[in-house]
Symmetry: C2
């Protein structure tokens, strides 16, 4: 689909042409999950092709020190898959117009992380724009407290939808160190939400601040 | 360019095919700028075609209440350009391999916001992955303190590069209200960096926390 946009911005007119290969999502939800039984945050860890490709682009311009031995013993120029793995908040697309954002977020918590909590337990943190240069989607972030009693499955996403998700727990006392450790690849949503928790939930839960 | 990626992730093998229309950036820098003379944050406000298109997609599925009168007096189904405007940190691509990240960030501060500060004044806040589903670029965020004495031009970006940027000041005492006001379209980088400032610079500068 080719779309033309004519605009007038601060006295300057112009035109953009967009070529859509497929419909991009216009709205996403993400959820900071805190397990009150184990005092851990529940994140998802997944392989992101786009991140992998960035690392691959970067490695191409560097000396071949990143080459690794493959299982067959030959030297490969491919990076290990771990180069494309990121830690993220549980998240998903708003693709069901009849459901509330809270209900969609609830389903993602169940599918990806295995916790069954009522939608009423989801508290909105805020909303913002993500990927303003490419997708421009609105993103609404929620906070959900869960307990071990809410855990009904191991999670892991929907393999038939191509999701390969590992559920990861980050203990509360390690959260701030995790947030600012640049060796751990993660999204801004993880960093922000840990700090939001620190600022807003600290009267209720103690969090280490020695960073 | 068509790129094939074969992967093995948690015991599941698969293949992704990427079609690059152009080379995406693999690394970006962004800068939280604080003016110590006026006690204001310095942001950029710009029209983002992708955000506009998202709003347009959303408006299509809603009753035509969003229709507006054009200058010619006829009713248009186009949304006003303001629907595509976002508030963001000063930012740019890392596209000069011979320059340090601090030097690239310094150039963006000068081009977009008109402040000339030495690269040594740029303090790294942290780095993270942005747009993990689409671009996967690494993003490094800096903090820069500037004063009115550093202001050498009105900024506004490079019109020849298609940049249409308005420099906006947010007073320190309004920063937290601004960060959490969902009616103001903004990136997560703005929200996070305001809160980072609040948590880390508050011994030095007083910031209102009545949110």
């Amino acid at each position: 689909m080719l779309v033309r946009v004519d605009f007038l911005n601060m006295g300057v007119s112009g035109r953009w042409l967009f070529f859509f290969l497929h419909r991009s999502p216009t709205h996403l939800v993400s959820v900071l999950i805190f397990n009150t039984t184990s005092h851990c945050f529940v994140l998802v860890k997944q392989f992101r092709p786009a991140v992998y490709m960035c690392e691959w682009e970067k490695a191409k311009t560097q000396p071949p020190k990143s080459a690794e031995k493959t299982e067959e013993g030959s030297t490969s120029q491919w990076l290990p898959a771990s180069a494309g793995v990121t830690y993220e908040l549980c998240a998903g697309l708003v693709d069901k117009p009849n459901l509330s954002l809270e209900e969609i977020a609830r389903q993602e918590v169940l599918e990806e992380c295995g916790y069954d909590v009522p939608a009423s337990k989801l508290k909105k943190i805020t909303s913002y724009r993500s990927g303003v240069g490419v997708t421009g989607a609105k993103q609404t972030m929620f906070y959900a407290e869960v307990s071990d009693d809410n855990c009904v499955s191991p999670g892991g996403g929907e393999p038939k939808e191509g999701e390969l998700i590992e559920v990861v727990k980050v203990p509360l006392h390690e959260a701030m160190t995790f947030a600012y450790d640049e060796r751990i690849p993660k999204t801004m949503g993880v960093i922000f939400s840990f700090i939001w928790f620190h600022n807003n939930m600290s009267p209720k839960y103690k969090i280490s601040t020695n960073v």
